[in-house]
């Protein structure tokens, strides 16, 4: 795509998202309103509702698993070092 073509595309997307009525009709996409309001998040604020547990504890479990098993990754815990051999 040419540089000017790219700029035109961005401009059109911008204006379209801003709901400009004068442009030719592109398919309208409206994101639904977020259905969980910030003041409804009491339950989600509790420590037992977090994905990551206490950092040192999670790190220890992750280390043991990575050393004993072949699989690794996507657990949300940063790995590091090697206690193998």
């Amino acid at each position: 795509m040419t540089r000017n073509g790219f700029r035109l595309l961005i401009l059109l997307c911008t204006v379209q998202l801003g709901g400009c009525a004068q442009l030719p009709q592109f398919p309208q996409f409206h994101m639904p309103e977020p259905w969980v309001k910030p003041y409804e998040r009491e339950a989600l604020a509790d420590p037992i509702m977090q994905f990551s547990g206490d950092p040192l504890s999670a790190k220890h479990f992750e280390h043991v698993h990575v050393v004993r098993e072949a699989a690794r990754g996507a657990t949300g815990v940063e790995g590091g070092g090697c206690g193998c051999n």
Binding site: R3, I48, E69
Partner: protein, 377 residues
């Protein structure tokens, strides 16, 4: 277009592209920040001191660990940690091919968290040293809140460099490099349920074996020879829900695959519940299963380029059950202190790795214990 116009454009080509990307990013930030403009929260100030213990398959590893985190200036949080692993190794590999040994691994890590509007950026660096292995890594993670704070997109990258040595053999020195790329999304589903989907791609290059382990070909011991590259992918789905009685249920399922032909799956589920004012109990169960690496063999019937008898690359499964208790020792407006104890019992059962002392398929149980104090202030 005039000739002069063209040359001006050519000169600014690179700059232009970056500016446009930046503007696009701002625009997207604006679109997703559609419903409000807010700031993400810095992690709380905290400190944790732990004693960790693992015993299984003839290996005992224990030691202290410490972590401290403090807010610095308005938008930064600094964290520093120290982890010691004293390993007594009398594992099946070691006792059948060498003699038991003890060694200590020291690991330091430092992290810096930065909040900019809805984005949370983390830089981390880790340094792990033991007598025959040095591992250093750096990481960058970005978490971007969007869609009214209901959706968080996570991007991460870690780069590691290791130096591999060998006891009593100063002529042995090799390296290993690692790259990890992470992408994840967490989504608030209802005021009581959350889910997250994470993917990670890893690449390793260099010496990925162990200079102490031997493989077996026609019953004879030969040096282990793993490929010098490995590429893997993992995809993980998690769900947490508040069940309405000061309790929560969490579930996790992960699928892993790599170019060594290993495929692994694990499933973990747990339940947490508060009792009285100060007590919290957790129970969990984890199931893991993997298929062997292409070049793995308990006793190879043919001589191949790559050969390994590393039981971590064999076909096996492990099942663990765990329990955790937390007691809130003190809670004031300024700080909270909790005492925690965790225990996990896991059974490992190998389908194609034999205990050469008995000739039977190998299996063992492991116990993992953590005792720690955690404080937030």
């Amino acid at each position: 277009m005039a000739v002069t116009d063209l040359s001006l454009k050519q000169r600014r080509a690179g700059q232009n592209r970056w500016q446009l990307l930046l503007k696009l990013a701002t625009l997207l930030g604006g679109v997703f920040g559609l419903h409000h403009a807010r700031a993400a929260d810095l992690p709380e100030d905290s400190a944790e001191a732990m004693f960790h213990y693992y015993n299984g398959g003839g290996v005992t590893a224990d030691g202290p660990a410490l972590l401290v985190r403090k807010k610095v200036a308005d938008s930064f949080s600094l964290s520093a940690g120290y982890y010691i692993d004293a390993v007594s190794n009398a594992s099946i590999d070691v006792v059948t091919t060498a003699s038991p040994f003890r060694e200590t691994r020291h690991e330091y890590n430092v992290g810096l968290d930065y909040i900019y509007r809805d984005a949370h950026i983390t830089f981390g660096t880790t340094d792990s040293t033991e007598p025959d292995y040095v591992a250093k890594s750096n990481s960058l993670d970005i978490a971007q809140e969007t869609y009214g704070g209901m959706t968080t997109v996570n991007l991460g990258f870690t780069r590691g460099e290791d130096e591999v040595l060998k006891h009593r053999d100063p002529s042995f020195k090799d390296f290993a490099s690692h790259w990890q790329y992470r992408l994840g999304v967490s989504q608030v589903l209802t005021p009581h349920w959350l889910m997250s989907l994470n993917g990670e791609a890893s690449s390793d290059n260099g010496y990925l074996s162990s200079p102490y382990r031997v493989a077996r070909v026609f019953g004879a011991a030969v040096p282990e020879n793993d490929p010098r590259t490995r590429s893997s992918r993992a995809i993980d789905l998690r769900l947490i829900g508040d069940l309405g009685h000061r309790d929560a249920l969490h579930m996790e399922v992960r699928h892993f695959w790599d170019n060594w032909a290993i495929k692994a799956n694990n499933l973990e589920t747990g339940y947490s519940r508060y009792f009285a004012e100060d007590w919290l109990a957790d129970v969990s169960m984890r199931y893991y299963r993997q298929s062997k690496a292409l070049f793995y063999s308990d006793n190879a019937p043919s001589d191949t380029l790559y050969i390994s008898r590393n039981r971590q690359l064999s076909t096996f499964k492990d099942i663990g059950i765990g329990a955790k208790v937390t007691y809130t020792l003190k809670k004031t407006a300024e700080y909270t202190v909790k005492l925690n104890g965790t225990w996990e019992l896991t059974q490992y059962k190998f389908d194609d790795f034999t205990d050469i002392r008995t000739g039977q398929l190998y299996s063992f149980n492991s116990n993992l214990v953590q005792l720690y104090v955690s404080a937030t202030f």
